[in-house]
């Protein structure tokens, strides 16, 4: 980053700090009841307390676990199913319209069905999170496979490449930008559904933590949890972007 960019960054942080100071001021003046709005000092104290002596670590781990298992299951299934559908024009003609119909459906509506089938359990959460997270990945995979440059398939035919080789050496790498973008979107979905399932089923995690804090009117703990959720969302998204960048280095070379 050049000097000007660094200066702007610093100024931007200063502005953010200003907002935090404003928040502190509002809290100190009790313009909003401290039951609803704790000052940043109390939220921070709660964060520190939660990590050092409380069980915020296990709550964080709980949410991350839910996210991770659901997202991984969704990735494997989504890429596999998406590859099968995307690589065959017949399948695309018959299946794609149904998928387009299902796409705008709020995935959280599957939750009651999952509860009916599996009760208020971890299994229910895993099912819901996987189900929700599979859509961006599967749709992106189908699109990526459908968009493979036809000339490359002709090259593959000319080289008499096996079907497996065509999928692994040509179709998958060609579709990888789309697939990785889909996986990044799925992370967001996985986080949201983890929180919802934790709230509904009382499963161990940050969602449950913030709900309990709200019920007990412990606003500092509540805000600490919300901030932590935001940080989780941010860090996982950035981690995914970095991975994308590394894996798609050849795309960067085009610029």
């Amino acid at each position: 980053m050049n000097r000007a960019a660094i200066l702007w960054r610093v100024a931007s942080f200063a502005v953010a700090a200003g907002f935090i100071a404003l928040w502190q001021l509002i809290a100190n003046l009790k313009l909003v009841s401290p039951v609803f709005l704790p000052g940043p000092d109390r939220a921070w104290a709660s964060l520190v307390r939660g990590f050092s002596s409380g069980d915020l670590w296990s709550k964080l781990a709980g949410t991350l676990e839910h996210m991770a298992y659901g997202w991984l299951a969704a990735s494997i299934a989504g890429i596999a199913i998406g590859a099968i559908i995307g690589s065959s024009r017949t399948m695309r003609t018959y299946v794609a319209p149904s998928l387009e119909f299902l796409r705008p459906l709020p995935v959280s509506a599957i939750i009651p069905v999952a509860i009916a089938m599996l009760g208020l359990t971890q299994a229910m959460a895993l099912f819901v999170i996987s189900f929700g997270a599979i859509w961006p990945i599967m749709l992106a995979t189908i699109h990526g496979f459908a968009a493979v440059e036809p000339r490359l398939y002709e090259v593959a035919r000319s080289l008499q490449m096996s079907r497996l080789a065509v999928i692994s050496k040509i179709a998958l790498p060609s579709a990888s930008p789309d697939i990785l973008a889909g996986m990044r979107l799925s992370l967001t979905v996985a986080l949201i559904l983890s929180v919802v399932c934790e709230i509904l089923a009382g499963l161990d995690g940050l969602g449950h933590w913030v709900l309990l804090s709200a019920r007990a009117f412990r606003s500092a703990d509540l805000f600490a949890g919300v901030i932590l959720l935001g940080v989780t969302g941010y860090v996982t998204s950035v981690a995914m972007s970095v991975a994308e960048h590394k894996l798609l280095a050849w795309q960067a070379a085009q610029r």
Partner: protein, 254 residues
């Protein structure tokens, strides 16, 4: 009916018929599944006693109210950040810090502040809608033909008029695309809040059906929610094509 749209129906019809046949053959007794015929009956029943219509009205009200508020705020900020690069850069850290917070995480805060009901749901939907509108309208403003901005300056238009007469009309096609995306998000978030905790609307309806061990009614709600989502999407795409035609294509008319 074209060959392609006929093919599109093959899979869903086959699934429905197979499901119906299997349920009948096994005399299905389940808390979670019901044959399509019973689902349709439950749907008609819910229409007949207006329960599903009331729920639809409540959900759509909350979703649209939140969408409206979120769009207005997102648009105002997006235009401001799009016009003023200084403002945009200064606010970058703040925006990037708040944006990743999942809207559903605000649910407990809204709950203790506002209690159950419309207001808390509207607030959460609004929060979720602000970000896509902000980001996309900011991009739309930035991509306005510079020549137009020069014209505005040459005509010595006051800032308010510059926004109203030049910037908004020029960026409108892409702003509408942002609005369309946010409408989908609004519906999803509204239903999610209702399923998680709020005792009103379609989300509450489907949860109540599940708790009452009425899988036919529960799946009827599920189908109806899907239909609403689909219809909303189609409606907005038609509106987009009508209003903007080719102008909106560059913004991604899908």
């Amino acid at each position: 009916m074209t060959a392609n749209s006929a093919k599109a129906l093959v899979l869903p019809l086959a699934v429905l018929v197979a499901f119906e046949a299997w349920a009948r053959a096994t005399y299905l007794q389940s808390d979670s599944l019901a044959p399509p015929s019973e689902i349709v009956m439950a749907l008609f029943g819910a229409f007949a006693d207006f329960s599903i219509l009331t729920a639809t009205r409540d959900t759509l009200f909350a979703a649209f109210a939140g969408l409206a508020i979120g769009t207005v705020i997102g648009l105002a900020l997006g235009i401001a950040f799009g016009i003023s690069d200084t403002l945009n850069r200064l606010m970058e850290v703040t925006v990037e810090a708040i944006r990743p917070i999942p809207s559903i995480a605000l649910l407990p805060i809204a709950l203790i502040a506002l209690g159950f009901g419309y207001r808390m749901e509207i607030v959460i939907v609004a929060f979720a809608c602000v970000w896509p509108v902000l980001i996309l309208s900011r991009a739309a403003v930035r991509s306005i033909e510079p020549r137009l901005m020069e014209v505005a300056r040459a005509l010595r238009l006051p800032p308010a008029q510059r926004v109203w007469k030049i910037i908004i009309p020029a960026a409108l096609p892409r702003i509408f695309v942002a609005f369309r995306l946010s409408a989908g998000i609004a519906l999803i978030v509204a239903v999610t809040v209702e399923i998680a905790i709020n005792p009103l609307g379609l989300g509450a309806g489907i949860m109540l059906a599940q708790q009452a061990l009425r899988p036919d009614l529960m799946l009827a709600y599920l189908v109806w929610i899907g239909a609403i989502g689909y219809a909303l999407n189609v409606l907005l795409i038609v509106a987009q094509n009508r209003l903007f035609g080719r102008a909106a294509m560059s913004g991604g008319g899908q």
